[in-house]
């Protein structure tokens, strides 16, 4: 029996009477999901709704000499067949660049390819019909005359003089390059007693949301308004982009996001086929629906990772790290993705390598190159899994080389918990971290000494188990430094509006949105606590640009830390407003009263004074009985944006215990641990489940997931039978522990927790596999995913 009971509140400053902060209350929106009564975008049906299917390029790179749509137009049920040139009259192209990533360049991308397709899967023609099936039937009748062009697929040769340039207008295949140097790396390596250098490879993989991308666009010429139902993480961002590229004003666009069947960063970008869908709705003056099927998801949902990092570390014999150096190369497809760009992940690798360690002698280069494969962009834990695996991989290889325990070498080099504020090797600023406390907690939680003894015992029996670790830092609560300063209209602030209804319940309208992580519950917990009602008296409204404060949405682990703080402050503000009017009614001083469990009470004695229902009744229906000049304001709005720090870095450490079958090459995961510090824990169960889900996505990257391409740019495993994701039977139980270091930037003190698991797990599993195989004399495995084939090769068995 593992059902988690409510944990006792762990806070004091936020411990209002009946506080929900720190309690594992269930999410209020689960019943409809469990009864099949959710409304995902794929469920939305509107009157006169048509369906679009896309003709997609079978070639990685091809000129489009002509498109013959005559037969398709005659197919049953077809409403329209639209080419790229025709659609370009409705929607303008975009370029995915940000000014703070200096030198980053890309080419204009169209909703439908015009003249040339740049990856296998790019949409070149749209067919709109009464049903999706009829649209797909008619797609087969569209005759596209392709002329195949040389495909650039290998990032290693993308910059060679002999390689064709994908976009001649921008000169070469280099999207972005960043070079960074800090301290004195040359001196550091010269002082080292041992130097380890290796190349880490990270397979291209993707999010595989169970619900594919889905959008229903409804242009109503009578209202001159476009309503877009979209499974997106950033409704206001999309509102801006639809307006900008359709030539409309933002107030003409309403983006509605209901239930979303998984996001993980996949659904925070601009997709050409979704832009085409809104343009088709405008063109055809009726609702148009697009739901990606699974092969479309695999060849058009953003891919991620695909980094190759040559990395070097220097250490002294006592374990002191003396220098780091990395050279990262990543291929991002033919376009930098709009509007967040495809340079962010490589930039993050440079920022995050060296993590929370004291050694500041650091040299880095990252190059981002174009290629004729599907586009790559930000997916859960952007850059972190790479930087963490490189850093932690180097540390464990160095520890093995000098014969030092892997936890001991970390203790020697982690920034001291009392040395903050501090900065990492790349100059990233840490407000307060707890890496040593987290490590100590993990050490005891997993009984490290006991596991080492067990490992040694089993080795004598020919059983090869490994223990691996990964310390990490995680970017959360991003300020405007992430996107806003680069010119993207992506809000770093978020708002909440709280309103007392006529029966004493409250509505909270928030700019953050629910993707399944529990944002609705967390917002409700914050506002219920700060205002003073039970959670069943709170109704949360989210995911609707007509009805929520302007906000950034849900990404980069920002919903709880930023949206939660806004809700907390809005609840407090409404409490003051209600107490002001209650004071008028009761002829009492507002500051002598409080609101607790839906009742205005005397602050000190807790004696009941007046119910919220009665306050609301008087204010809404008998305001004539209030003293002259008293106007009740039963609504309050507050906003929040982190200001003191660019990011609220969280930290933690993971451990993996696994067994490698040295005959089959299979890895059995026995147990996984994670201790993390996301500051104030608003809902312990939700935090733990974010960590567990994140760890499993990271394990997917380490062991299974890879988008396999051939040299002609064809994806070979674009289905869920061949692209492997973690299954229940392969996954271990994951124990989660916490250290709590609140951020002082907000009253709530909460940081994000959505990506810590994914950040640390791949490197952690890699280290455990290498720990298991080290006594066999195997060369270290650094090429993810670690398939049985690669493990047997490392063992020299195949």
């Amino acid at each position: 029996m593992k059902i988690v009971e409510d944990s006792p509140p762990i806070l004091t400053a936020l411990d209002r009477p009946n506080s929900y902060i720190g309690r594992s209350v269930p999410r209020p929106n689960l019943a409809r999901l469990m009864q099949g009564r959710a409304q995902y975008v794929s469920d939305v049906v509107l009157p006169r709704m048509a369906h679009v299917a896309f003709v997609r390029s079978p070639h990685a790179h091809a000129a489009i000499d002509s498109i013959d749509v005559s037969a398709a137009k005659q197919a049953p049920g077809v409403i329209a067949v639209v080419t790229g040139a025709e659609l370009a009259k409705v929607i303008t192209p975009w370029v995915g660049v940000l000014t703070h990533l200096k030198g980053l360049k890309s080419a204009p991308q169209n909703a439908l390819a015009i003249d040339r397709a740049c990856w296998a899967g790019e949409a070149v023609c749209a067919v709109v019909a009464r049903s999706r099936a009829e649209a797909e039937d008619a797609c087969e009748r569209v005759l596209v005359d392709y002329r195949e062009l040389p495909a650039v697929t290998d990032p290693e040769t993308a910059l060679d003089p002999g390689t064709p340039v994908i976009h001649p207008s921008i000169g070469d295949n280099l999207c972005f390059e960043r070079v960074h140097s800090a301290g004195d790396p040359d001196k550091g390596f010269a002082e080292a007693d041992a130097v380890v250098e290796t190349t880490f490879l990270f397979g291209r993989h993707t999010g595989v949301t169970n619900e594919p991308r889905a959008i229903v666009a409804d242009w109503n010429p009578g209202d001159a308004r476009l309503t877009v139902y979209q499974g997106t993480q950033a409704p206001h961002m999309m509102q801006n982009l639809f307006a900008k590229h359709l030539g409309l004003e933002e107030q003409q666009i309403r983006v509605v996001t209901k239930d979303v069947g998984g996001s993980f960063g996949i659904k925070v970008h601009t997709y050409a086929d979704e832009m085409a869908t809104v343009a088709l709705a405008k063109l055809l003056k009726r609702p148009v629906k697009f739901v990606a099927d699974r092969i479309e998801s695999f060849v058009t949902d953003i891919h991620a990772r695909d980094h190759r990092v040559t990395a070097k570390i220097g250490v002294k014999n006592d374990g002191t790290i003396t220098a780091w150096e990395i050279d990262d190369l990543t291929g991002i497809g033919p376009y930098s993705v709009y509007p967040r760009t495809s340079g962010i992940e490589a930039n993050q690798v440079v920022n995050l390598t060296g993590g929370p360690y004291t050694c500041g002698n650091y040299r880095a280069r990252a190059r981002v190159v174009f290629q004729n494969k599907n586009v790559m962009c930000q997916y859960r834990a952007v850059g972190h899994p790479i930087a963490t695996a490189v850093t932690e991989g180097l540390i464990e290889l160095a520890a093995a080389k000098i014969g030092m325990d892997p936890l001991a070498i970390r203790r020697r080099n982690l920034i001291a918990d009392d040395a903050h504020p501090s900065q990492g090797p790349s100059g990233i600023k840490f407000e307060a971290l707890s890496n040593h406390a987290a490590l100590a907690h993990l050490d005891s939680m997993m009984n490290y000494a006991g596991l080492r003894a067990e490992q040694a015992q089993l080795r004598k029996q020919g059983i090869y188990r490994g223990i691996g670790f990964a310390s990490f830092v995680e970017v959360t609560n991003p300020s405007a430094a992430f996107y806003g300063v680069g010119g993207a209209r992506i809000s770093a602030q978020d708002g909440a509006t709280v309103r007392l209804d006529s029966t004493g319940a409250i509505y909270c309208h928030t700019g953050v949105s629910e993707q399944g992580q529990g944002a609705e519950a967390v917002i409700a917990q914050c506002v219920a606590t700060s205002f003073g009602v039970s959670m069943d008296r709170v109704r949360i409204v989210m995911g609707d640009t007509d009805n929520t404060p302007y906000g950034g949405g849900t990404w980069a682990s920002r919903a709880a830390g930023i949206g939660g703080e806004a809700a907390w402050q809005a609840g407090k503000a409404l409490r003051q407003n209600v107490l002001a009017v209650a004071g008028s009614i009761l002829q009492a001083k507002p500051e002598t009263m409080d609101i607790r469990n839906g009742v205005v009470v005397d602050h000190d004695s807790g004696k009941e004074r007046i119910g919220l229902d009665e306050v609301a009744r008087i204010c809404y229906f008998r305001p004539d009985t209030l003293p002259a000049g008293v106007q009740a304001e039963l609504i309050a709005t507050r906003h929040y944006v982190p200001r003191a720090w660019a990011f609220a870095f969280t930290n933690g450490i993971q451990a993996s215990y696994l067994e490698v079958n040295t005959d089959s090459g299979f890895v059995k995961l026995l147990k996984h641990w994670c201790v993390e510090d996301c500051g104030t824990v608003i809902n312990p169960q939700l935090v733990d489940e974010q960590v567990r889900g994140g760890v499993v996505q990271g394990i997917g990257a380490a062991l299974f997931e890879q988008c396999l391409y051939d040299e002609r740019g064809q994806m070979l495993n674009g289905n869920m039978a061949d692209y492997l994701v973690p299954m229940a039977v392969e996954m271990p139980d994951i124990e989660v522990g916490h250290v709590v270091t609140p951020t002082a930037d907000s009253e709530l003190g909460a940081k994000g927790a959505g990506e810590a698991g994914t950040a640390g797990a791949p490197g952690c599993v890699m280290n455990a596999i290498n720990d298991a195989l080290r006594p066999m004399g195997a060369a270290p495995l650094t090429d993810m995913p670690f398939t049985p084939d690669k493990i047997l090769r490392a063992l020299g068995k195949v």
Binding site: L30, L33, G36, A133, N210, V696
Partner: protein, 162 residues
């Protein structure tokens, strides 16, 4: 290609339904598009992910691998019907308490698959529970909470029988 229609009569969640369907239409598309029972989901469309799991004549099937035309005369049960009957109310309560779902897209199929195991009685091992739900992909939870919830219901049901 379309154009081959079939008339079918079947029982869906206890209601008699007569419809004309395209011969190529899958059961899950029929449920979702024709009957607007959108609790059964389309994930992979080739029988791998389990999001479209429904019961046909008491047996779990993949709604994307069965044709609507094959269901003439069948009794089909979806998550909506099974929920309304209260058959899995305890399982749903355990999923809620344990937060055994995040986005919820896999959940209808996961619940029906779990109920198949629980209906056999006894308290299955965690390994057996993990095996049972391995044909239902969840991308959010990492599975542990789901295993916990199913295990707790098995224990409660077994205890209640004693």
């Amino acid at each position: 290609m379309s154009g081959h229609d079939c008339d079918i009569t079947l029982t869906v969640n206890g209601e008699r339904v007569t419809e004309r369907v395209d011969a190529r239409q899958t059961l899950v598309d029929f449920l979702r598009d024709d009957l607007i029972l959108t609790g059964s989901h389309v994930g992979c469309e080739h029988g791998v992910c389990g999001a479209c799991t429904v019961r046909v004549d008491g047996v779990l099937v993949r709604g994307c691998l069965m044709l609507a035309a094959q269901c003439d005369g069948a009794h089909v049960e979806t998550i909506e019907g099974v929920s309304d009957l209260g058959e899995i109310a305890d399982l749903q309560a355990a999923f809620e308490k344990r937060n055994a779902l995040q986005c919820g897209f896999c959940t209808p199929g996961m619940l029906l698959t779990a109920q198949e195991l629980l209906a056999r009685g006894g308290v299955p091992s965690r390994e057996t529970i993990r095996e049972q739900i391995s044909g239902n992909y969840c991308r959010c939870t990492g599975y542990q909470a789901i295993v916990d919830a199913i295990e707790s219901v098995a224990q409660t049901r077994a205890g209640a029988k004693r």
